[in-house]
Each structure stands twice: as structure tokens, then as C-alpha cells.
Symmetry: C2
Subunit: 323 residues, 2 copies
Amino acid sequence: MKIRIGIVGYGNVGKGVVKAVAANSDMELKAIFTRRDPASIKIDDSNVAVLSIDAAESMVGEIDVCLLCGGSATDLPEQGPYFASMFNTVDSFDTHAKIPEYMAKIDAVATKTTAIISTGWDPGLFSMMRCLFEANLPAGMNYTFWGKGFSQGHSDAVRRIEGVKYAAQYTIPIETAVESVRCGENPDLSAREKHLRECFVVAGADANIAEIEATIKSMPHYFADYDTTVNFITAEEFEANHTEMPHGGMVIRSGSTGENNQIMEFSLKLASNPEFTGSVIATYARAAYRMSREGIFGAKTVFDVPLSYLSQKVREQLIRELL
Amino acid sequence: MKIRIGIVGYGNVGKGVVKAVAANSDMELKAIFTRRDPASIKIDDSNVAVLSIDAAESMVGEIDVCLLCGGSATDLPEQGPYFASMFNTVDSFDTHAKIPEYMAKIDAVATKTTAIISTGWDPGLFSMMRCLFEANLPAGMNYTFWGKGFSQGHSDAVRRIEGVKYAAQYTIPIETAVESVRCGENPDLSAREKHLRECFVVAGADANIAEIEATIKSMPHYFADYDTTVNFITAEEFEANHTEMPHGGMVIRSGSTGENNQIMEFSLKLASNPEFTGSVIATYARAAYRMSREGIFGAKTVFDVPLSYLSQKVREQLIRELL
């Protein structure tokens, strides 16, 4: 019997999960829950129900794990506890500062379900590496670099500026900083020394270009602490070159044992950030399903899940083929 | 109370574990067990007992975890089951083909102990990455490259050739192959296309140099399937440049989601292979200790251990600082 999957939220990540479920032969998609009019979502597979989020309760017993693909700002704080009270869930809640509060709310309702929160790649895989690396090399420093990649949050911030029609922001790790870390120099790096920010902006016909550029560069939190370049381009150029969502990054630990430098590094080079995030979320559906069957209930994180729970392979095969 | 550690076998890895235990503030070294005359091992710390392996039973109740640092060929097949019958253990058994058999033997005796086998970095960390990467990207291929690094097994094989006094063998990944994998080209690579082998040999005064070189290059399993270069050097040069044990390598998954290439990579750049291996083994002592206290007994692998069990940080701190 396959693991029956529900998807909550049909944006870029939700669409990535649809592809990921199809790629995992032990999973099948049963339903998509949406805040929109269900009739507006067309799915090729007639076995997949498209339902309003309010109808979730009607699917209890029909779905093994719901994968929550909404945003962390407003969707998940509401949908997380709602779904975890009825289903096993996996999400990619990524507002770092609010994770403890979110986790406590989920944990309170997940008394008979397993809810794995904050998967994806950061938080998620990068968190796992920070934990593993630090444990393996207690003397040392962790460095996380993001990019080169498209940042949704920063692009949205630029788009909200008056006169901006379209905007794409790329976060770019500074190569000399990365190399210094990789060489074991343990540099002390400010935000500005770690990443550059590059914006591609389509401005309205009567917009004040100079003012837009100044507004971007001085925006607190988002840009003020970074060296930022702003490129004004045409709508055609934007459409041709800036609608993909590549991303990536790396976690590097520069540590030492005795007198010896030891470098551990994990990196991602992703042609599609939402599809990869969806793929990681789907992987954790398997873990949530297995843990729930073992009675391991409550809110869990990637730190709580043994890697064997992620694999489709049984133990003997895992050991023979991958150990 | 600290986790009380015993070390079994005081070679390069065992010495690495001594340093690692000192670097973990929640561990303390209680004993070193050796096959040699215990009087031949001098330890600065008077709280550390140096004992014969045969005296292990006398330390039951005094030690929480024994870290087995012997070799996989002859030491561990004997010492693994012996120690796991009395203590929680961690080892780095690395004869891939014999792991299932070894694991079954350990599992049979570890009825009241936790025995984590085949840690270190390959098997160990690399195995974890192969498992994680494959689960995250079901459509794709795993590639493992080793080096550039000193290979003990291959160096020993050269040293056993008549006329050879000292030998060091380095395994070198072929950069064009690595780049092809990183670009998502999914190449089909033979052994010869993945790694070069480079030997530095000190020959005896009356040795037949040409014959040594031919013997090395044609040695089945070790060298015949690779492009190998052999450099004859002086004993002084050997002592100056070839007594360190650097190593490293990488696991790369080249996968896809839909039409999009996704690359995951884990790499190590180690100035000291035995010290890093010792450091990883020590990390798993924490996991073995915790699992045993929870009654999770038997032979375990790195696939069975949640990452939280490796960290010195409590759950709240892990989530706050690393998630």
C-alpha cells in the first residue's frame, strides 16, 4: 500500500511536491487543498481530489500525510496546527525566530499525529549539516552562504517600491570569503563581506530611476548592510532571463583536531528552488508516516529523524548498497 | 556526570580519539585497552588506566562506551563482539562486503548494550550522505570520489613488494570527472576515469627499480585498473613530505526534478584522516550512550541515529541555534 499524500497550498512549492510524489514509487497523491476556488485548479490525474482547505476533515482516514506548502508569514501559523490536529504533516516553516513558538503550537495538537516542521533546505538540510558538522568537530566555526540564487523575499521587497513593475533579486556569495573559509582561515565576516545583492528591475514609464535605486540600496535589513547593484532592464529581458528560480548555497565547517585543519562542506546547486524544496518535503512524508505508525507523535524536526526513515530501501538493502 | 570513555587500540585512530574526547566537554577518558604491554603506553593523565584487552571485564560499570579503534581485517571481527557483549561500543569497521556478517555477530551479543558500527567517514558520513541525497532526489545518480589523500591499504600493498623500504600511495580524483558530475552530465565513469594513483617509494640500495614499478602498476585490484605514477625518492624526502595522513573526498548526487538539474554535494578536506575519524567515532559515543539509556539496544548504524543524539546541545538550544 502506498503512502497517501495530501498537498496543502498549490503554489510553486506545492507544484514541486506533485512532481516529487510522482517520483517516489511508494507514494500516491490523493488530494490538493487550496484556499482558492477548487474549480480553478486543473490536475491531470482523476484520482486526485481538489478541495477547499475547509473540507480537510472529510479526508481524515483517506490521507496518511498532509504536506503543507503555504508561506510562513500567514498560511502556516494557521494551517500548521489545523492540519496537525487531524493528519500527520510535513512543512517548511522558515521564519527562524518564530520556530519555537510555532513548534509548541503544533506539538500541543499533534497528540495522535506526527508533525515534522521546518524541512526543506534552510531550515532543513542546512540545519542538519550545521548540527552534524559541529558535533563532529567541536573546535571550529560554521559558515552558511546562500546563492547564487533568486530570493523571493528580497524580490518582493523591491517590487513593493513605487514605480517598480517587476523585480528579481539574486543573493551572491562573495567568492574570496568562501575561499578564505575553505582554506581554514576562520575569517570573521560581516554580512557585507559574505554576500552581494544584485537586483534586476523593470521600472514604470514615468518612474524615477535614481530614486528607486537609492530606495533599494538604503532599505534596512534587506539591503542597507550589503553592497547592492541595481540593473534596470526591459520587461522583455526580465521575462527572458529572470523568471526561473535557481538557488543554492553551502554550509562549511572549518574545524581542527589537535594541530590539524579539517574542513567539512555541504553544498547545493539547484536549478529550481521550489521543486527541490518540494522534493525534500516529500522525503519527510515517508518519515512522518513511519514515525506515526510507531506511535512517535508530536512536533518533530529534522534533528529527530533517523536517516533510515527517509529511504525507500529496507534496512538490509540500505546497509548493503549505501553504507 | 560525564560520559566515561574507553579506547580499544592505541594506534593512529586511537590517538585521534584521545584528542577528540578532550575536545568534548561532556566526555572523559577512563581507560585505554591495548594488545601490547600496557606499560609500553605512556599517558599524561593519571586518571586514565592503561590495561590489557583481556582485563576489559574488570571495567564493566566504570565505562559507558568503548570506542574500538583497531583494524577491520583482524582486530574488529574479534574485539567487536567481545566488547559489545559487555559495553556500549562504537567502531569504524570498514570492510564493506563483510558489514552484514559483522553486524549480525555484534547484534547477537548486544542484547543489553548499544553498538554503533561502521562510523567514521566512509563508511560513516559518506554513507549518510548517499542515503540522504538519494532519498531527496530519487531520480539521479550518486558519485563518490576519494582524495586527494593518503591510502593506508594501498601504501601497505606497495610496501610488501620486495625491495621497497617505505611507500606512500595517494588517491587523486580526476578533476575533469568531478566537474562533469558537478555540471549534471551524469557521466558513466570507470575506475580509471574517476581516480589516479600516485606512489612515492623508497627502494633498497640493490633493488630493481623497473621491476618494482612494473609490479605496482600491474597489481590486481589495487593498481591494475588505474593509471598509476610511481616516483622513487630518498628516505630523507619521504620523511620530510610523506608521513602526514591527509585525506578527503566527496559524495555528489546529480539528480533532477521535472526538467531541472539539482546537485547536492558533501566534501571533506582533512589534514589528518585518523584524527578526523577519531573525532567522528567520539561523536557517536554520545549517541550510543543516550540510546543505551533509552533501552535502544543491539547493533546500529549511522542510518539509525537521529542527529540530535550527536549533539551536546539540548533540544531547545539545537532548534534555536542550528535549525
